[in-house]
């Protein structure tokens, strides 16, 4: 519509939040484009929720700034709030109200006019398969149903930006797939979606991804590019005894990380390591393990291991573990 539409949906500069001595979010610089699904990937305590809360104005940054939909959050939080939808990590609608009552309340709280609200609720009940449960109390519904209700409530006012804090943590795999279908539909309709997760498969579906560790942004970009550009060579060790190989391989100083995936082991070797394949084989032979080793393409999990490891290395010194 106007020039600001081409500006990033979210732009943070040096965004920092401290709670007492602890730094929850540490100098995050991000530019999140409009109309895409953007993911925050990170373990618990990596600062995902705190960053989301600062973006929707629920927490004030200790330093740094965030511009959301072209406006400064510190100054225009109220104006921004009307254009964004927020789904907190914990189910935050009212357990003792029914689906319909919850949606009606949220519609009124958002300031929707009565006929518009009625139409919108009607459509959402169908979109989110909630019509049969319209008069059921939210507290008696399953995790997946509650999540659909929460998403419906967050999108009542057709926000330009949708912030979802670990929306699938209490949901079965089928519901998770359906949920992501809905997110893609929303993004297709022009909504910017920012979603935090600690599931690799969900992170991989995002258009753009930020990996957070200990409050810092440690990697950023489209998942495919992050995988292609991972700063390691990946080898797969396969066999029943692969678990036993983990410790000896991790001891090699050019091995950046070892991750167990079922009966397979992903070994991440530094790019500048001389003859890593031979090195791994020699180590396995030393340990008396007869296992297959083959080079393999990196996965997002490998990217995650490398990104979070680098962070540890900078605090603990080179080659520190």
């Amino acid at each position: 519509m106007n020039a600001s539409d081409t500006s990033p949906a979210i732009e943070t500069r040096g965004l920092t939040r401290r709670f007492g001595q602890a730094t929850a979010v540490d100098g995050i610089d991000l530019a999140i484009p409009r109309g895409r699904i953007y993911g925050f990937l990170g373990p618990n305590g990596s600062g995902k929720s705190t960053t989301l809360r600062m973006i929707c104005g629920l927490l004030r940054p200790t330093s740094g700034s965030a511009r959301v939909l072209g406006r400064d959050v510190a100054r225009d939080a109220e104006a921004i709030r009307r254009r964004l939808g927020y789904m907190p990590q914990r189910f935050s609608l009212w357990d003792d109200l029914t689906v319909l009552e919850n949606l009606r309340f949220m519609a009124q709280a958002q300031g929707l006019a009565r006929p518009a609200a009625a139409r919108r609720i009607d459509a959402l009940l169908d979109d989110h398969a909630l019509r049969a449960r319209a008069s059921q109390r939210a507290g008696t519904m399953s995790g997946g149903q509650r999540q659909r209700l929460a998403l419906a409530a967050a999108t009542l006012h057709e926000p330009e930006l949708l912030l979802l804090d670990e929306p699938t943590s209490a949901v079965d795999p089928q519901s998770r797939r359906d949920f992501w279908e809905r997110l893609f539909a929303l993004a297709h309709g022009g909504t910017t979606v920012l979603v935090s997760t600690h599931y690799m498969d969900e992170a991989e579906r995002c258009h753009g991804l930020a990996i957070l560790a200990e409050g810092r942004l440690v990697a950023e970009g489209p998942p495919r590019r992050l995988i292609e550009q991972v700063d390691a060579v990946v080898f797969e060790v396969e066999g029943e005894a692969s678990a036993a190989a983990q410790r000896p391989l991790a001891g090699l100083d050019w091995v950046l990380g070892v991750a167990q995936l079922g009966t397979r082991l992903h070994v991440l070797a530094a790019r500048d390591a001389p003859e890593p394949l031979a090195g791994i084989r020699a180590r396995l032979a030393d340990a008396g393990l007869a296992l297959e080793v083959v080079p393999t393409p990196a996965t997002l999990e490998d990217v995650f291991v490398i990104a979070t490891r680098t962070r540890v290395a900078t605090t603990a010194g080179p080659h520190g573990r």
Partner: protein, 378 residues
């Protein structure tokens, strides 16, 4: 955040109020308390708080044993304050009965009781009271001032003067001629019971949303603090008026408390008091982090209300500090209003200083509560 000032939206206030009513209606225990609590408290207070002292167990040491002493004792008995249960033979015996707590009052009729009656400068008889019970001693104290000499003194000239003196001493009780405590207590109970229930209702209002995790979503909507506070307060105004009606009805049916003033004034006064108390609860709610804290704080506001408002102890007898503190409390002013309206038939205009004070209290509490409520988590 100050960049945008919007006029409060009635629709949003109504949304919050509707939500509160639904939640209240579904919370069976709390819903039951709306009607149950005032009735139970009314019965407890109405029957238990009884400043009318009757039938105190009394032992008598009658050293005169004459017709005059018997007449005197009959008269004491006739007041119904004393109940003669035992006759003893010596002062030591009488004192030990009192010490053991077997009787509350001892009466000593001296051998020269007849001559004392004529003289009227010396006490006719002695009343020994268990002073460890304050209300008791004050009641029996008034008994000592009772115009006992009246009929006996009627014989002589001195007696005539004694009668005049006695008449002048006579205490006329206005507005509550029977001196029934219920008549004084019940109107005040409206305030006491309301200050117990109202503060509790709103004290949990914001904290409950916080504890159940709803607050994070609520503050991410365009709802303003004022809309939220007013929406949370409105349903309980109605609840408060219902409770006030229950108290009045029970008071009328069980304790025969008449209402001298107009009901419009009574309800307007109650409305003002309810709003003031609810706003105090909202303020408490912005201070507390958990519901448990909120309830503790609520109790902290109730105790001074009940103790200092003049409901239990006469306001005039309190130290200045306590009086100053009591001046802040809505219940103090409401008690003045409600006694005036119910017992003396006063109008709201007659008690306008109290009206102004309650209105000011409400306004200040609302402003503080709204200002304290931040649409942020930090």
């Amino acid at each position: 955040m100050a960049a945008e000032r919007r006029t409060p939206s009635l629709r949003r206030i109504a949304a919050v109020a509707t939500k509160e009513v639904r939640q209240l209606a579904r919370d069976r225990l709390t819903g039951g308390m709306v009607l149950g609590l005032p009735v139970v408290q009314m019965l407890l207070f109405g029957y238990a708080i009884n400043f009318d002292v009757r039938g105190l167990d009394t032992a008598v040491l009658d050293q005169a044993s004459s017709s005059v002493s018997r007449q005197l004792l009959d008269e004491l008995q006739a007041t119904q304050v004393l109940q003669l249960v035992e006759r003893v033979g010596s002062e030591r015996e009488l004192e030990s009965r009192l010490r053991e707590g077997r009787v509350a009052v001892g009466v000593v009729v001296p051998p020269d009781v007849e001559r004392r009656l004529q003289e009227s400068t010396r006490p006719v008889a002695q009343l020994l009271v268990d002073g460890s019970q304050p209300t008791l001693s004050s009641v029996v104290g008034t008994l000592g001032a009772m115009p006992l000499l009246l009929r006996h003194g009627a014989r002589g000239e001195r007696g005539e003067r004694g009668r005049e003196a006695a008449r002048r001493l006579e205490v006329r009780t206005l507005y509550n001629p029977e001196k029934r405590t219920a008549v004084q207590i019940v109107p005040a109970l409206i305030g006491v019971i309301l200050s117990m229930t109202m503060v509790l209702f709103t004290a949990g209002a914001i904290v409950r949303e916080r504890e159940r995790g709803n607050l994070e979503l609520l503050i991410a909507t365009p709802l303003t603090p004022l809309e939220l506070m007013v929406g949370k307060l409105l349903p309980f105004v109605v609840v408060g008026l219902v409770q006030a009606s229950v108290i009045l009805l029970v008071g009328h049916l069980l304790f025969r408390v008449p209402v001298a003033g107009r009901f419009v004034d009574l309800y307007l006064a109650s409305l003002l008091f309810i709003a003031a108390t609810l706003s105090l609860g909202l303020f408490v709610s912005t201070l507390a982090q958990t519901q448990f804290q909120a309830f503790q704080l609520a109790f902290l506001t109730m105790l001074p209300s009940i103790l200092l408002s003049g409901f239990m102890f006469p306001f005039e007898g309190m130290p200045v500090v306590a009086q100053r503190l009591a001046e802040i409390l809505p219940l103090t002013h409401f008690n003045v209003m409600i006694r005036g309206i119910v017992l003396r038939g006063a109008t709201l205009g007659d008690v306008w200083p109290q009206v102004a004070k309650l209105a000011a209290f409400f306004a200040i509490m609302m402003i503080v509560a709204v200002a304290r409520f931040r649409k942020r988590l930090d």
